[in-house]
Every structure is written in structure tokens, then in C-alpha cells.
Symmetry: C2
């Protein structure tokens, strides 16, 4: 497999995987492109490489910056803006996990808490609703807390203690 083929394969796979971490295709592809680039890229570079419009590029770069995984860099002697992404996978994972938690999981936990706190009127269906949403609330909250804790560990938790302890 040649460089270009490998690159295309990586970008398109990463792009279609966007859904898994809750972002759209173009956004994921831009991030992927920056991730394997040896130097910061301009909007022009990105549009050209991915064959997407200026508007699309602009909007998605903005979103990536909102997520905190892409930053503008100033290239001396150049007027236009250049962009890079976080290059450390560990840190990338941390930021993504944190954002997803904040944007999607936390609001759901809140709803589950509200729903599971309704007054028990003694009927079977109410009891079931309370019981099941409470269970979901606990699971979601615990899992979210755990992921956040894991991700905050600065060291490589994966290959270290946690992983081994679980066996």
C-alpha cells in the first residue's frame, strides 16, 4: 500500500467513525488530515485535500476549535491562518471523552434523575418506571464518573495498573 492510498484509507475510515465519537464526517476528516500532517495546514490546504467547500471547512474548523482539539497557529510571514490538531492520542482521547460527557451524558443523567424522582403513587407501572430509570441513572452516572477519572490520569493507565488488575 502506497502513502496516498494509506492516507485516504485512514481519513475515510476515521471520517465514517465520526458517529462513534459524536461528530460529523467532515469534522472527523479534517481532524484526521491534521493528525497525520507534518505541519500546520491552511484552510486552502484542507479544502483542496479533502475536496470540500470553503464554508464547510470554515464551519467545521470552528467546531473542532470549540471541542478544543484543533488550534490556530501563526506561521510567520503568512497572512492566512494555519491549523493543527492535538497530536498526543492520550490527550486527544481525554478531551473528546470530557466533551462528550459534558454535552451528552451529563444532560441525560439529569433527566434520569428527574424521572426517577417522581412521586410513587403505588401503581405497578410507576414503581417499574422509578426502579428502571433509577438503575439506569446509577449505571450511567457511575460509568461517566469512571471514564472521567480514567481519562484524567496523566500516565498511560491503559497499560498500567488498571488494566492488569482487571486481569
Amino acid at each position: 500500500m502506497e502513502y496516498q492510498e494509506a492516507k485516504d484509507k485512514f481519513i475515510s475510515t476515521w471520517g465514517s467513525l465520526g458517529t462513534l465519537w459524536g461528530i460529523n464526517k467532515a469534522m472527523a476528516q479534517i481532524q484526521a488530515l491534521l493528525f497525520i500532517s507534518t505541519k500546520p495546514l491552511s484552510m486552502e490546504d484542507i479544502m483542496e485535500d479533502l475536496k470540500i467547500s470553503r464554508g464547510n471547512t470554515s464551519m467545521n474548523l470552528r467546531q473542532l476549535m470549540d471541542w478544543g482539539i484543533v488550534t490556530k497557529v501563526l506561521v510567520s510571514g503568512e497572512r492566512k491562518e494555519f491549523f493543527t490538531t492535538e497530536k498526543d492520542v492520550q490527550e486527544l482521547a481525554r478531551v473528546i471523552a470530557k466533551e462528550r460527557s459534558r454535552r451528552e451524558i451529563k444532560p441525560v443523567i439529569k433527566v434520569l434523575d428527574e424521572v426517577s424522582s417522581i412521586k410513587d403513587d403505588g401503581t405497578e407501572k410507576t414503581k417499574e418506571l422509578i426502579k428502571q430509570t433509577k438503575a439506569l441513572h446509577n449505571l450511567t452516572q457511575d460509568a461517566d464518573a469512571m471514564i472521567n477519572k480514567l481519562m484524567d490520569q496523566k500516565q498511560n493507565w491503559l497499560t498500567k495498573s488498571v488494566f492488569k488488575l482487571i486481569k
Copy 2:
């Protein structure tokens, strides 16, 4: 908050959260409805409650069965089919995690492995592609393995050892 309001809120929240675990709205809503129901429901029941068509209900029930989280149950004296979902959250989480791993994560790991294994032609860009996809490959593989291990623990790992060890 009354029962009906709480129920609607739960179903719609869970439905819109479908994306987070990679399924569509109707599918998530059907599962949510079954999850808080005190007894198995027929296709008719589901269509009526969620106000969705027969075809839609049929297709999504099928998908839920493919995922292994909904099963047909025979109700004696009834001709039509009834459905229930896995009621234990722990087990539900296990099944979902496993399916997502199989359907989405594993194929990506494979691509990352292929891409990171291209021949190093000595150029900077090839080196960077290899380095970065290798890092991503390792992270993804480790995270996937860890989640699968965690989910396979029969007991409540969340509130037990793992969680505490991380601090």
C-alpha cells in the same frame, strides 16, 4: 411530574440518545418503552404508544433482536407476538458494548493496523502517518480490550474494586 409526563420524557430522552450508542431514534424508543413496561408488548401496543407505523415497528424490533436486547415471548392464548427487552441494566450495557465493539471498533482497529503497517519509504510524511496511526491503533485496541473485560465481569465492577483503585 405525573407518570405519563415522566414516561414521555424518559422515552424521548433515551431516543435522542440513540446516537450515543449507535442506533436510531425509533429503535431506542422501542427499547425504552419495553424497558419500563411491566409486561411484554405486542407490535400493536408499540405502534400505538409511540405513534409509529407498522413497518417501522417491525423493522426496528428486528434490529433490536439482532442486537440481542429484545426477545419474542409467547403469551399463552394470544396469537400475535409479544416482545420484552433485557431488564438488567448491567447485562444491557454488556450486550451493547460487545455489539458496538464487534460492529464498529474492531473494523476500525483492522484498518488502523493495515495503514500503520505500510512500508516506511523514509519520507517525513510516511513516518508521521505510521507513527500517528500506530498510536491510534494502540489506544483503540487497549481501550476496546479494557471495556470488553470490564463489561464481562459479572459483578458490579463499577462500585467495586476497579473504581476504588483508580481513586
